[in-house]
């Protein structure tokens, strides 16, 4: 799309009024517009594939995509500016609204950044509670992604099955913190409420029904996920759409800044949870799935494997919390002012690496709070992901990024 001055041919009215059209003019006009076979197709902001309010402009040569230009910003709320005008605790519910599907993660990240800036160590039980809550969040976010992949691939069964499984984890969220989506659960220095305070067994203070049910959910989910895997993995219509599409290499991926499952699908063996552990992640045992194919199917496999790992982590956390017991503290009292300094903290979000950069100046409000959103960077690389694929593959490839506009536009 260049802005060069192009030859204009007089229109019918001008010709009727006596304008001349020479053969040379017509030839020049046609040669300048030779790429008429390539057309720009605007997908979004209202488009079934976009899963939110954003636009993807693709240039298509027939069915082949030759260029792509993502446009975001429809949801820009000035989150960072707003945060500069709020006291520290007031930002916690705002952090929920960064991403509706991974609200727990962002709130956790924000609280963690503040704790690091304050230089305090949270109690051990809180670490496990946060890890457990994070993994519940990861599960329901990944299940929503799986549902979206189903519709993007043209199948509604996968959508409803994944949504059904997601409901269990949403219910767990409700019981843990009273909300399905915007959880508002972590606090600076701990979490809002102890897991032992929920659905307490009246006969035994140490037995929480919530903990019992979460293990049951894990047991059920480990079996139920195989249904969905059997539906998708044993089915060549799904596999043929995912294998070999949207390929990027390891070097491209690292350079473009793609993080999360998309990155591990290209062979980058890196996970913040393992390689830069935060909170309780160095105390639990889990595997980081890594595949080197770099296509959509690898990203799909990584996410599915992460779901199994998530239940594994949840089980460990439940055991640890049980052994720590009801009497262990779950929240610290923290000062409302954070001393001057700069803190950078990162977390393995469901979609990639989320990070916050906090500049504090000793007052009760942040001087600057920058949010590094995983999708903001991932979607900026969509041109490299989409080059040379077919129009039909665009929703599938973009589904593997798992768009969430709240955190992208902030």
């Amino acid at each position: 799309m260049t802005d060069e001055k192009k030859t204009q041919i007089p229109d019918a009215q001008a010709i009727a009024e006596g304008a001349e059209v020479t053969k040379e003019m017509v030839q020049e006009y046609t040669s300048q517009n030779m790429d008429m076979d390539k057309m720009w197709i605007t997908m979004g902001p209202q488009h079934p594939f976009s899963h939110g309010l954003w636009t993807l402009k693709i240039q298509a040569d027939g069915e082949i995509v030759t260029d792509a230009d993502p446009i975001v910003g429809y949801l820009h709320r000035g989150w960072e500016k707003e945060a500069e005008n709020r006291t520290y605790p007031k930002i916690i519910p705002m952090a929920d609204r960064l991403c509706y599907a991974s609200s727990m993660m962002y709130t956790h990240l924000y609280c963690m950044t503040c704790e690091k800036a304050l230089g305090i160590e949270i109690p051990e039980k809180t670490k496990y509670i946060r890890v457990m809550a994070d993994e519940i969040n990861r599960l329901q976010s990944h299940l929503m992604w799986l549902a979206a992949v189903g519709t993007d691939l043209g199948n509604f069964t996968a959508f409803l099955w994944a949504s059904r499984e997601r409901e269990f984890w949403m219910d767990m969220n409700v019981r843990l913190c009273g909300a399905r989506m915007t959880t508002n659960y972590p606090r600076i220095g701990g979490v809002r409420n102890d897991v032992f305070d929920i659905d307490l067994d009246m006969n035994d203070e140490e037995k929480s029904r919530f903990m019992r049910d979460i293990v049951r959910c894990c047991d059920h989910f480990d079996k139920a996920l195989w249904d969905i895997i059997a539906l998708i993995d044993n089915n060549s219509t799904f596999i043929s759409r995912m294998v070999g599409t949207g390929i990027i290499t390891r070097e491209q991926c690292a350079n473009l800044g793609i993080t999360g499952p998309a990155m591990r699908g290209t062979g980058v063996d890196f996970d913040v949870r393992r390689d830069d552990p935060y909170d309780g992640y160095d105390l639990v045992d889990f595997d980081v799935p890594v595949l080197s194919a770099g296509d959509s199917y690898a990203r799909y496999m990584i996410r599915v494997e992460e779901m199994f790992q998530a239940t594994r982590i949840i089980r460990q956390c439940v055991d640890k919390i049980r052994s720590l017991g009801r009497s262990a503290p779950y929240r610290l009292k923290v000062p409302s002012r954070i001393p001057a300094g700069k803190t950078y903290c990162r977390i393995e979000d469901c979609r990639g690496e989320a990070a916050m950069y906090l500049v504090s100046d000793g007052t009760d409000r942040p001087y600057r709070l920058k949010v590094r959103s995983a999708i903001f960077v991932n979607v900026s690389s969509s041109r490299d992901l989409l080059m040379g694929c077919r129009i039909a593959d665009v929703p599938v490839i973009m589904a593997m990024i798992d768009m969430c506009l709240g955190e992208t536009d902030r």
């Binding site: 079934p48 594939f49 691939l153 199948n155 509604f156 069964t157 219509t237 077919r390 129009i391 929703p395």
Partner: protein, 416 residues
Amino acid sequence: MAYTSIIDWITGVYSQHGWADPIQANPYYPFGDAYNLPYDLGMKLWNIIGGAIAWLLDLLFPGNDVSTWLVCDMTNNIFALVLFMVLVFAVVFVACLISLWEERKVLGRGMDRRGTMIGMWGFLQCVADGLKTFMKDNVFSKKVDGMTYWWTVALIIGTSVLIDCMVPLSPRWFVVNYDAGLLIIMGLYALAPFFILVSGWSQNNKYSLIGGIRAAEMMISYEVPLLIIIATAALLAGSLNIGDIVMAQTKHFWYVIPMFVGFVTFMICATAESERAPFDLAEAESELVEGWQTEYGGMKWGLVMLADYLRGACSCGIIVLLFFGGWNLPFMEWTYFLGDGIASFHQNFMWWFPAPELTFLLKAWLIFFVMIAIRLGTGRVRTDSILNLGWKVFMPLSILNLVIVLIFKLFIGGVF
């Protein structure tokens, strides 16, 4: 026969030998030697309706010509044909609505939900949706190419209704009984993608255009194996007449046995041909919004969707006719209902009961169930793989099917 009174008219025509033989009593009978149930029903209906009107007019204006005209043979025939058309369409329409309801219910159950729930186990939801689309505002873009935009809807729904009416439900429930009946149906069936292409072009919308082009691509790659298999079935039966093909299956065995490869191929090709999932890439909603239907709203969209289901029902009908013995059960003809000639069918008490027609429709709905199951478990196929499938898999398979049938015909020829 001048009109005197309704009593005279009824007794004059029918009192001698019960219900009149429609072929013997009607010099303008349009179906030759074959008995046609919907025409007969139409004729009898008109005899009652027209007779009643004529009688009323005669009470008011005794001895008028209109009363005479209303019950003369020619008028009887014309109005019987009108009622015949209404009847044939109504049956097709209701059958299509039932398959729509079946799809919604089966899809719902497969997806672990309930499907439609409004009235009659959810059947009335289809009616409610139809009424809703009727009442929608007629919204259309100013930039569309008017003539093609409007006419293609009419042509798509028109051809779809036409082919669905052309599928005979039984030897007595048909519209035309051609020797090349199957070819005519397939010929009209293949017309719709042209309209889709033109319609996608006329809408001045990139999604529609891509959808239209995809429809054309699919048509090219799936028409050929479809026609080869039809020709194979005709070769096996020795005729392109639908009745002959069904009779040949009843006498020997269903053609799904020798032509199993052909059946599977035909099933998938027919799914693609009627643009059902997983081959619905002309209206792939995840990338093309609604594909070639993007600019159609309200009743236009409703008609287009109805056409989709009509075409799906037609594919199922053709599959039943070609592979599953049509309206007959194995080794069993419905002689009680169908008779072996004109003279005998009135002798039976329940001659009017549509048992063969219902058999046919039930089989078609069973086939449709398989199509729904396919939709339940598959994702959308991509354009390039659909072309690959069409030319590199289904085309050789249909040829293989032909070879198998030829071997049957040559070496075990006694059966055929």
